[in-house]
Structures are given as structure tokens and as C-alpha cells.
Subunit: 203 residues, 2 copies
């Protein structure tokens, strides 16, 4: 089966519609997805940015919020701008990474829906705990695993891997042959590539 | 008839596939297009950028060149990276603005094809002159009009208008109701919006 990696950052605006769309699109193409949460912070820092580029460049931010609003309306999902933006995403990323398989993707979609659909504070343990319960996961145990030294180190390694691959924003689809497709608007193209790459390899 | 404005900058990479695609897409939607050449320089300067962001942020540049290569392959148009990048686009913008109607769109497509399809230096009068001849336009007369004080002032006004609309990159589609759609990957969405906006107004 063809596969692709879905790299996402919980503070990233366009990762919201992408996270809600990507599983169905991948199923349709017969592509299995690995959900890979990471942090854009270190990548932005390497560019000299100490804040979201959407805050550093207000004109870009204004465009993005309006574009995101249109994008959400077009796919029929609610949109509420979180305050402040960006939301602190470290704990959510650690929790997602400490979960496996469907629990990780289910939790991740719920985080995005809470953050950008309801405007809830995803940096707070109470918010994440409630989302874990909704996923059928014991919140205390998940948070403990999330904050273990091993899991913290794993997230750091994932961030380093993202930079190494050439990821410069989120979301990104990365195919087996190493192509990076950046943006909610590249999901279809990236998944088509992933499906073709597999066929091309004759595997 | 519904209408939309197509704002483009000759040095802009994603404006190349967009310029080659947009007329057929607009025809299909029944949207009439106004081609509006402008310069991103003043807009980038206002952000504090004295070069293309693709040069200022090399990781972003690497991603863009590969993405552009894939985009061109997908629509079956040649791609050759111009050196240096960005190409000086002032004279080409002035010439395009000095032309009207089909001559402007024809010339503009030829400039992009020369620049990003063949890697030709579009800052040179000889290149632009040859493209004008291919359009059936007298190059000496067109260049003289292009460099008139009135045309130079008109281009400045167009750049100011672009900033006022909220344009932050190129290409952009701007609809009658003032929505801005940025990117080659937003052409379909922008034209659909333009067609709907017209229907919605009952005009």
C-alpha cells in the first residue's frame, strides 16, 4: 500500500482544514497516512522569526485569516479565530506524539476543532484532558506519558527531522520518495503523487 | 458578465503558470478578466524585504523552486529557472501597461514563457522587442509609450492600488466584491467566487 506522512503543528491555521480533510482523501487514493505532529517554533527561529509570520507581517496575517475563513466555509466547518494567536501548542504536540494510531489522529482532529472551530485554549491541560476523555483515553495517564523525558526527546527529534526534510511550514505531506507538499491546498496533489510513486516503484 | 482582475508581477514565479492558465479558466466560468501588471517591489519594501523572500529565506526558496517545477510539469509547460532571480521586471511591466486588451495579455504570456520557460533575460530591451514583434506590435512605438511619464505614473498608481486592496504577493485574482485570492493555486476558487458574486448580485 502506498503511504505518506502528514506533518502538522497544532498552532498552524491551515493545518486545521487539512487535518479534517486528509484522512478521507488518503482513503480515496488508497494511501496510508502516518500522522506526525511537530513544532514550527524551531524552524521559524532558524529563519529569524520569534513569532508567527502572520503576526510579524500584518498584511499577510489579514490575508490569511480571510482566506482561512473562506476555506472553512467552502468545506462546511466552523471557524473561530483563537485568541491569542498562535496558541501554545507544545503540550498538545507532546500528547499527540504519546498516542498511537487512530487515537493520535482522532485526538489531533479534536484539538484542531476545539482551537479553530470553537476558539478554545489548547495550551491548557483542562482542554486537552476533556479532548482525551472524548477520545476514550485516560487523560492522567496520557499526560504523564506526554511529559516523560523519552517523549519530550522524541518530539525534539521529530522537529529536527522536519527541518532536515525541508519542511518550512505546516501542514506538509511527505511522500515515500521524499517530495514535500506544503499547505492544505496541496493535499490532493501530494496524495496523488504518493499513490503514483508507489505504482511507479512497482511495489 | 461577471468580471475579475488578474494582478501579476513579471518577476513572480507562480505568476508564470497562472498567466498561462487563467484565460481559459475564466472563459469556462464566463468571467471577463482585466489584466493588471504591477510591481511587488514596493509591497516587499513595506515589509522590510529588499529582495525576494525566496532569496531572503533559502529554505523557502528551495521549496518553491521544486514546487514550481512540479506545477509546470503537471500542466505540461516547460520550466527553466531564470538567472539571476528575480529578473528585473520594471520595463516589462511598463510595456504591458502601455498595451491594451488582447495585446496586453498576449505580450504578458509571452514574457512569462520567455522568462520561466526559456530562461531569457526579460529585463533587456532586445528580449522585450522580439516578444512585441511576435505579438504583431511595433516595438519602438510600444517602448516609447511604455517609458512616457504618463505611463510611468500610471504604473506607480497601479502599485499603490495593489497595496490598498491588500495584495501581498502575486498572482492575485480580485473579485468585484473586493475578495483577494492569492496564488496560482487559488485561480479556480477566485473565478468561482467571481462568477457567484455576479449571480448573487442579480446583475
Amino acid at each position: 500500500m502506498a503511504s505518506a506522512e502528514f506533518w502538522y503543528e497544532f498552532a498552524s491555521t491551515y493545518s486545521y482544514p487539512a487535518a479534517l480533510r486528509v484522512a478521507a482523501l488518503a482513503d480515496k487514493r488508497g494511501v496510508s497516512l502516518a500522522w506526525r505532529p511537530f513544532l514550527l517554533g524551531p524552524i521559524f527561529m532558524a529563519q529569524g522569526w520569534r513569532d508567527s509570520p502572520f503576526n510579524i507581517y500584518p498584511a499577510k496575517g489579514r490575508y490569511m485569516w480571510r482566506d482561512l475563513e473562506r476555506t472553512c466555509a467552502a468545506i462546511g466547518v466552523p471557524f473561530k479565530r483563537p485568541e491569542p494567536f498562535p496558541q501554545p501548542s507544545l503540550l498538545a504536540a507532546r500528547v499527540a506524539l504519546a498516542l498511537q494510531g487512530d487515537e493520535r489522529s482522532d485526538f489531533s482532529r479534536r484539538v484542531y476543532a476545539a482551537e479553530f472551530g470553537e476558539g478554545l485554549p489548547i495550551g491548557e491541560r483542562a482542554t486537552l484532558g476533556a479532548l482525551l476523555i472524548a477520545c476514550g483515553v485516560d487523560p492522567a495517564a496520557a499526560l504523564e506519558r506526554a511529559e516523560s523525558d523519552a517523549n519530550k526527546a522524541l518530539l525534539k527529534a521529530e522537529c529536527a527531522r522536519a527541518a532536515e526534510i525541508g519542511i518550512i511550514g505546516a501542514p506538509c505531506l511527505v511522500t515515500e520518495d521524499g517530495e514535500v507538499f506544503w499547505g492544505n491546498d496541496r493535499l490532493e496533489q501530494g496524495l496523488a503523487w504518493a499513490a503514483r510513486a508507489r505504482v511507479g516503484n512497482g511495489r
